[in-house]
């Protein structure tokens, strides 16, 4: 399939945008990565995602698919030959979906609370919430990995993608707040998993370097604090 048949609209810092890119890489599908500029939305984005006007959007042929995890499932179904992204057994699929929803609905918001915390006490509470969440994920990892390196077992899968896409921002949060969120003592399995995930061929070119992301975070904070034009 020609490269221009598959497009991803996104931006390199976004964890949500990473998800479809990793999925396409797993399936060895070539795609064109169209980057949005910070602060403005392209005509193509507004046309392809009129409901939310958000990235990522996958455009396959002329059909847009929106919402990062929905896109990942679409990629798994549209390019159905191996390797599979979702597990094959219904119960394993449910567990993967459960924890993917957890990282989006609980873990990521609690990470953002660390950033928006006003005062040391609030920050401590927010940090503890994230750590507690990661301990739950450590337990899930132990159960899901079935002897392999990843949540998906021997190969990276849906939950690796859903959770792993947050690792860049997790590391930036650790750096800015001088705190270890993933650590050897409480989450030893996840520490190893994070290494394996970030160095995986489908991930390494898509995962931003922590320093680059940290710089971007500063730019973003400034842009948000600046008065509207």
């Amino acid at each position: 399939m020609a490269k221009s048949e598959v497009k991803v609209l996104g931006a390199w810092p976004s964890p949500f945008v990473m998800r479809p890119r990793i999925a396409l890489n797993i399936k060895s599908v070539e795609y064109e990565f169209l980057q949005e500029t910070l602060g403005s939305k392209s005509e193509l984005l507004l046309k392809s995602n009129p409901v939310h006007k958000k990235i990522p959007v996958l455009i396959h042929g002329d059909k847009p698919v929106c919402e990062s995890l929905i896109i990942v499932e679409y990629i798994d179904e549209a390019w159905s030959s191996a390797p599979s992204i979702l597990p094959s057994h219904p119960y394993d699929r449910a567990i993967a979906r459960f924890w993917a929803a957890y990282v989006d609905e609980k873990l990521f918001p609690s990470m953002k609370e660390i950033v928006s915390a006003d005062g040391e006490e609030t920050k401590k509470v927010a940090i503890q919430q994230v750590v507690d969440g990661l301990v739950l994920l450590e337990d899930a990892y132990t159960k899901c990995r079935k002897g392999g390196q990843f949540f998906g077992g021997e190969q990276i899968g849906y939950l690796d993608i859903a959770f792993g896409s947050y690792l860049g921002w997790l590391r930036v949060t650790e750096k800015f707040n001088q705190v270890k969120l993933l650590d050897e003592a409480k989450t030893p399995g996840l520490v190893k998993w994070a290494e394996a995930f970030c160095s995986h061929p489908a991930v390494k070119d898509v995962m931003p370097e922590t320093d680059k992301l940290a710089e971007f975070a500063k730019v973003l904070a400034k842009a948000r604090a600046a008065p509207p034009k």
Binding site: I70, E77, A101
Partner: protein
Amino acid sequence: MAEEVKLLKSWSSRFGLRIVWALKLKGIQYDSIDEDLSNKSPSLLHYNPVYKKIPVLVHNGKPISESLVILEYIEDTWNHNPLLPQDPYHRATARFWVKFGDDKVLPSIWSAFLKQGKEQADAIDEAIENLKLLEEQLKGKKFFGGEEIGLVDLALGWLANLVPVIEEIIGMKIIDEERLPSLLAWMHEFSQVAIIKESWPPHDKLIVKYQDHRDLHLAK
């Protein structure tokens, strides 16, 4: 091995109802346990330690939580009477509207219910904007799933059940013939389907419950 399917839910929960409907649509035999959410059972806490919430589906001893995850599990496990189309693009589209329902429609209607005055008027406007997008999706179709009920219908079914309750309590119409004719027709069509109708929580009981909830919220 004999199939053992248990559903932990509550008498009124719109999320539990989704699962009841899915199980009935697929003709799956199950045991149902109504939890008292003010006094959660040890079973519930054991089966859903992360959220301690209903619904929980327990299939041959293995628990699954989160209603949308449960719906997909049911679809994956019992293939007959499919809730989702075959084509990947149409599946992605269905999932999109399911998520839109939970992420946007539900909070905006809830907001319209719990607020007063100008805040309420604004919340209703926002709810209607969201509902108009659903209206567009329905145009010309009996159900969101087409001729048959599908995943989107099950996920949005709470609208047919709860919006009339909410409208009665706040004394205002949100979904009316003029603004949202297809959605109104769908609500009627959906609630007349036998398996949907037979699981409807009693209207009067819902009025009392939601009125209490609103009074408590406004008293804060």
